[in-house]
Symmetry: C2
Subunit: 153 residues, 2 copies
Amino acid sequence: MKRDSRLSMVLHALLHMADHEGPMSSEVLAKCMCTNPVVVRRTMGLLREAGLVRATRGAAGGWELAVPLEGVTLRQLHEALGEPTVFAIGHKNEAPGCLVEQAVNAVMDDAFAAAEALLLERFAAVTLADLAKEFSARFAAHRSGVKARIAKG
Amino acid sequence: MKRDSRLSMVLHALLHMADHEGPMSSEVLAKCMCTNPVVVRRTMGLLREAGLVRATRGAAGGWELAVPLEGVTLRQLHEALGEPTVFAIGHKNEAPGCLVEQAVNAVMDDAFAAAEALLLERFAAVTLADLAKEFSARFAAHRSGVKARIAKG
DNA sequence: GCGAATCGTAATATTAAAAGTTACGATTAA
DNA sequence: TTAATCGTAACTTTTAATATTACGATTCGC
């Protein structure tokens, strides 16, 4: 299976939107994400349903944040995307008749549930504002790197 | 993507093998796992390379455990399978030029790394013997359920 | 040694899920 | 009125896992 990259995509999109006056079109966002405008509409549409973004139609329309950066966690976004399957590892049969397989499933489920709980907890602890801060730090580092290279010759 | 069900499969297979005198053929195991003998050979082959099982060829050959149940953890099996990708959620681009996307990837990676570490820790804490115990408990419960149903009707 | 059962493995096909694409109607600003 | 835009359905492509076919190599029992 391909991996679901929608969370990654919307985070990227939302940060760009936060740093942009007025709405951004699906077309522009798609270019920026290396994807397709329809994919952007489909995915952002889920965030719209969750009240996290606004879409305006017609000329000069597009997508805008509907909430402050501090008000959105990765977990909320994950939920807005429909809480997609987290693990690429799973059972051979979800509801086996074999008692051996039932025991296997039960024990594996315990471990996966614990890991998923931790992941969601981490997601809940990170807001878009935190991400923006992380970006700023990288931007500053990048700039000083460029300056150093220029000074060096 | 389909989810990787090999860990589930080998656990099921190993427990059946533990409960069986002499080697079990890929054909028999495949029936039991609802899969194909070649898939069994391919997957068990990885465990053989890790020294966890033995294969004997020729008539009356097949697969056997090479270590005691107490000596194998889920983590060892996961490793023997080549430490397959744990998460079905991933980045849009692994090595983006965009600093925004780099920040997104970095923050997501932190969360995923923590969750994966916990999962592997859990895996390391469970041996095949523990699974066998879990099975026994289920078997006992199942038996008493059957008895009750027989007594009742 | 012979034949049947079995593993080892390469090559290919199938399947499931994500992502991409095409198409077109609805809406809105200028 | 026109052009830009979202909303959405239908379909195609891509990717990774799994399944299948095929056949050589090995081993057991005779």
